[in-house]
Structures are given as C-alpha cells and as structure tokens.
C-alpha cells in the first residue's frame, strides 16, 4: 500500500472514534501545553537576561575581585587568613563580611597586563543624602557609570564617558526633589552629601585635641557637600541589576573622589570589591581567556560577561527543568493512554485487519496503519496543546508584562521552530506508544480474525 493511502485510512479510522481520539490526544496535549509554555517562558527569560547583560555590561570587560566568595565561589565556612587588603563588604543577605579587596596596588598591577587596555574600579557608595534648595533630603546611592550601560532616557542626554560633576538621575527622584517634570530637572543642580569619616582638615589645623569632649566633637564627623548638574533623567529601568533601580550615576572620577572623602582614615580607604578590566580585542573570546588565566595566576578571581550570563541563565535553567519535568511526566502518562487506545482500536477492527490481510495487505502496511494512527493522535495532541499555550500566552503576555513591569520585554516568546520540533517529538513518542498494538495487529491470523460467531 502507498503511504498516502495508509495515512488517509488511519486518519479516517480516527474520525470514526472522535471522542476516544480527542481524549487521548488531549492527554498528550496537556504535556505539549506545559512544554510549549516552558519553552516560551525560558525564551523570554533568556532574552531578558541577554538584555540585562547587553544593557549593563561591556562584553570586552572582565569583572575582577580578590576574594573568591564575592563571585559566588570559595568556601565561606573556612576561617580566612588576614592580610592588609581585608575590608568589610555587605553581602546580599545584608550581613557585613570581611573580604579581601582590591587595592591601588592591585589595580596598578592589572593595568600593566599587556592585554588589558583599561581598568576601572567598581565604586558603589552610599551617599548621606541628596537634596536641592527647597526640597527635603533623600537617601541615595551613587555608582560609577560604565559606558557599556544603556539606560533609557526620559529627558536630557547621556554623554559617554559621563562628564565630571554631572549626574544621571532616576525618574523617581524628579518630583521628590520638587521638579515639575523631567525636562525641568535637566541642567539643574542638586547637592550630593557625603559623610566624612573623619575631619582631616581640623586635625591638621588643630592637632588631636586632648580634651575628651573635643575628641567626641571631632568624631561627630561632618558632611561634604558637592554640587552636581543633572545631565539626564532616566526612565525606571526594566533591565538593571535588581536593587540598583534607584542608583544615581556619576563619572568614575567623581565616584572615586566622593568615595575617598567617605572612606579616608578608615580601613576601607582605596579598597574596591570589584574592578572592571577592559581587554584589548575582547570580542575575541581567546583574549578574554588569556587575561582570566593571568588574573588567576596572580591570585585574583574574575568573571567574564559570558560567565555572568551563564550564572544568570542557570537559575532560569533550574526553573525550566522543573516545569519541563512536569510536562515530561504528563507526556509519559499519556503514552499509556495511547497504548490503551491503540489496543482498543486493534480489537475493534480485528475483522477489518483480517480482511485486509486476506486481500494481500503486507504485514508492515498493517503495522504502519496503526503506527500512523498513533502518529495522528500525537500530532493532534501536540497541535492542540501548543496552540492552546500559544493562544493563552498571546492573551496573557501584555498583562504579565504590565504586572511584572517589564517595559517592552515579553515574558513569553513563542518560537515556531521549537514548537514544530516539539510536535515532531510528540509524534515520535506516540508512534513509540503505538508499536506494540501495531505489532499485535500485524500478527493477527486472518482466519481467526475473519471467523464469525
């Protein structure tokens, strides 16, 4: 028999048992539905991660640190040996831990690497407050602006590298600081206050006081007030690193200067948790690897953008695996449904099989007839499930995006190629499930099958 005739016959057979076919297909459909949504969600998450990366990182830059634990490596349960570079850093949980930091000496050393074109200290500083005349004081953080970052601008414009004494202000501060709108804020000055760790000038002028009251007075450190011009107002970011949404961006030079004011006299002075080393011709992964190897040899720990991306993707992968496992279980369960349905189909059509065999139908064609029938069920299930997922996703996407505040980012991204592959796989699974019943049909003895009772 020709394949086309077998296909048509098996489709016709399915039509004769519509309810049974549909129910069996629906079981597969549940799996297809879950798997399609999983794929779409992971596509969305992956695209989101890629955007976070490309909006925040320069792929030719490597993050460098001295302490392994800061990049999520090393054993935090083991006592660490002290050296001068130790300083405290706040980890995600809010605890302050002692970690090795990069010093000016380290930065200089890395600058000497022949493959490195530039090293930029990562400076994140807690401002005492920001304000402007007539406005209240607000707490704020400032971070040095990396030219790799591409935040969305509401008003004004970003000049790269950022000019000194200019600031990129998050939109949320606009009305708090008393501006009517973002446009009005651009070009205006705001005051960034940094709490001095100790009043060096006073000590230099007056020496260390002998009287206890005066020492206490001196210890009540004063604030340094710096004027910054607002270069641009930034839209609430959808792709920034979590927790950094309200950061003010200032130039690397300013960030370092303010940081020095805040840290001078403390053990945190000129110590940096991270630095960013730009690699010459860093588009070539081999160059990145060379620098990373060199850093490792010199006792630093480093992470390329690619590794960062992998790290972020890992979390997605775990979630993906969990949902995929459920989809997979649903598919496995539906296999039994297909086996059962196909056995019933063989039983119901015993006579037809007998007649076909008596009329000279080849065994392999009989077997094909049932395998194709199973394939149709798999196809129907896959198509129904993924179509349902697609429709649901299309309806829900705008809502999810709004609820999660994702801006232009879609959470569910459907890929026709992936869906097609999924359906093909489900068809194969269904054919597999139909193998035993098809074999039973092929082996039927026509005389037995045609015996009338």
């Amino acid at each position: 028999m020709r394949i086309i005739d077998i296909t048509r016959r098996s489709a016709r057979n399915l039509k004769q048992a519509k309810a049974r076919t549909l129910l069996t297909a629906l079981a597969i459909g549940v799996g297809a539905f879950a798997l399609t949504l999983t794929l779409a969600a992971s596509n969305g998450a992956q695209s989101f991660v890629n955007r976070v990366i490309s909006d925040n990182f320069d792929p030719t830059e490597i993050i460098v640190a001295k302490d392994e634990s800061i990049l999520g490596r090393g054993d935090t349960n083991k006592p660490k040996e002290y050296d001068e570079s130790f300083g405290s850093a706040v980890v995600n949980s809010g605890a302050s831990v002692q970690i090795k930091q990069l010093t000016d000496k380290d930065i200089q050393k890395i600058r000497q690497y022949p493959e490195v074109s530039q090293v930029r200290e990562g400076v994140t500083l807690t401002l005492e407050y920001i304000t402007r005349p007539g406005a209240k004081k607000y707490v704020a953080n400032a971070i040095d602006f990396s030219p790799a970052q591409n935040p969305e601008v509401v008003a004004g414009a970003i000049v790269k590298p950022l000019s000194d004494k200019t600031v990129l202000l998050p939109e949320a501060y606009v009305s708090s600081l008393g501006f009517k709108n973002p446009q009005e804020a651009v070009g205006k000055s705001i005051t960034l206050a940094v709490r001095k760790s100790i009043d060096i000038a006073s000590i230099l002028q007056n020496g260390i006081p002998s009287n206890t009251n005066d020492i206490q007075e001196l210890a009540k450190s004063s604030s340094a007030l710096e004027q910054f011009k607002i270069a641009a107002v930034l839209k609430k970011p959808t792709t920034s690193q979590p927790g950094t949404e309200l950061y003010l961006f200032i130039s690397n030079k300013d960030a370092k200067a303010l940081n020095d004011i805040a840290k001078i006299g403390t053990n945190q002075y000129r110590k940096y948790t991270y630095a960013y080393a730009r690699v010459k011709n860093g588009e070539n992964k081999a160059n990145i690897a060379t620098v990373q190897a060199r850093l490792k040899k010199d006792g630093y720990t480093s992470q390329s953008v690619e590794e960062t991306q992998k790290f972020l993707t890992q979390i997605i992968d775990v979630l993906k695996a969990i949902v995929a496992a459920f989809g997979f279980i649903a598919v496995i369960a539906s296999v039994f449904g297909v086996v059962n349905t196909m056995y019933i189909s063989v039983l119901q059509r015993t006579r037809e099989i007998g007649l076909m065999k008596a009329l000279g139908t080849r065994r392999k064609d009989i077997s094909r007839l049932f395998r194709f029938e199973a394939a149709w069920i798999g196809f129907l299930g896959g198509a129904i499930g993924s179509l349902a997922a697609f429709l649901l996703g299309t309806v829900l996407n705008p809502w999810i995006t709004k609820r999660l505040d994702l801006g232009t980012q879609k959470l569910l991204i459907f890929d026709l190629k992936q869906i097609s592959i999924l359906i093909v796989l489900l068809v194969l699974v269904a054919i597999f499930a139909g193998l035993l019943p098809a074999r039973k049909a092929a082996k039927l003895d026509p005389i037995e099958a045609l015996r009338t009772e």
Binding site: M1, R2, L359, G360, R363, L450, T452
Partner: protein, 228 residues
C-alpha cells in the same frame, strides 16, 4: 488449471486431534464455476482457506497455473493474493463507516493500482450500486452490502474468486440475485468462481460440484466440459 494434490489438514494434538481434510485431490479448469458442498464441519471452509493460501496444509500441494502456492514466501504470497484472488464472505465484511467507494477501492489500494475512480465506478455499475457510490455502507440493506462485497471482489479483475456461503445471511430472492450476479461476472470476466455452500440448488448451477464428508471427497461431479 488449479490442482489440489493430496491435501491433509489436522487441528489440535493427540487426544483432541481433528482431521479437517483427509487426502483431498481434484483439478479445476480455469474459468469454471465450482461448488463445494457438505455438512457443517465437513471441512469446506478449511479447504477454501488452504486453496487461497490463508492456511497451510499438513501435507499435499495446491498448484495454481503451474506454481506451488504454499512455496510462495511472505511478499510473493501477499502479492498473489492481492492481484490474483478475492473473497466474498457470508457476513459481508464491508466497512460500515466507510463509503461504498472507499470499500471498493481497498483492493486497488493494496495492489497500488491506478485509475481507481474508473475501476470503482465500473465495479459498482456491474453490481448495480452506481447511485450509492458516496453512500456509507451502513446505509445499505443486507443484499446491497453483499453486492458491495462482490464489487470489491471483482474490482481488480482477479482470476480466482472464493465465496464462503455468500447467500447464507440473505433471503432466497436476494440470495438468488447475488448468485446470478456472480455467474454473470464469471462469464464476462472469465474468472474461476469457487463457492462454498449448503444449497444444493445453487450447487446444481455450477459446472463442478465437490461434496465433502468428514474431510474426504465423497463426490466429484463435472457437469460439462469447460473450454480452457
């Protein structure tokens, strides 16, 4: 020429041994009409199954047009059955949910023949079911169903048609019509027609009448010489 040589067939083992056929031999010229009669359990169906290659004898040979039927292996046997012979059964075995066209085109699909539409139309016209071509088989009466089965049996012009009690489930008037139809087609198509029946009247119309009893031929009557 169809030669049946010393065919024996037993079922079961030892205590429950049944001898369905016991050293059966006869010759049939091509194009003749043959009736196999005998009491229930005498081995008529078994003989038909062996002559059509559906079943294997314990000993003996069936030679059709010089070829030993049971020497044919899988594929050749299937091809032989698909192209050279056909069946009509007591209980029709038409697919109720399929249309008349689909039922009749089955043998053409099996032997991968072309021009189906024309051949099916011709076969349905021969049995007088032209107007039912797109009707579901379930909508047909018993006699019409058997006519449909006849159309299916003749559609690819086989040399050999086996009919196992083709009128057994029909009233006598309808049954006679089917038999007349089969004889008419035998004349036009020149195929050999082998009918298993209980009906002596029907058997009398056939050129050859073989009577079985307990697996043995007790009577072989050839009414008149058939030209080869």
């Amino acid at each position: 020429m169809i030669e049946v040589k010393h065919i024996s067939k037993t079922y079961g083992k030892k205590d429950s041994l049944v001898t369905a056929l016991n050293d059966v031999s006869f010759n049939i010229p091509e194009g003749s009409t043959v009736a196999i009669i005998g009491k229930s359990g005498s081995g008529k169906s078994t003989l038909m199954h062996i002559m059509s290659g559906l079943d294997h004898p314990n000993s003996g040979q069936v030679v059709i047009a010089g070829e030993v039927l049971h020497d044919l292996k899988g594929k050749a046997m299937d091809a032989f059955r698909a192209n050279e012979m056909s069946f009509i059964f007591q209980s029709f075995f038409v697919e109720a949910n399929q249309t008349c066209f689909q039922n009749v085109s089955l043998p053409l699909e099996i032997s991968e023949l072309k021009q189906r539409k024309a051949k099916v139309t011709e076969a349905l016209a021969a049995v007088g079911l032209s107007d039912k071509i797109n009707a579901k088989a379930s909508e047909l009466s018993g006699g019409q169903k058997q006519r449909l089965a006849v159309a299916r049996a003749i559609v690819n012009k086989p040399q050999l048609i086996f009919a196992d009690e083709p009128t057994g489930n029909l009233d006598s008037v309808t049954g006679d019509k089917i038999i007349d139809l089969l004889f008419k087609l035998n004349k036009t198509n020149k195929n050999t027609l082998i009918i298993v029946t209980h009906d002596d009247e029907l058997a009398a119309k056939c050129q050859i009448r073989i009577t079985l009893k307990d697996g043995k031929i007790i009577d072989f009557k050839q009414r008149k010489k058939v030209s080869k």
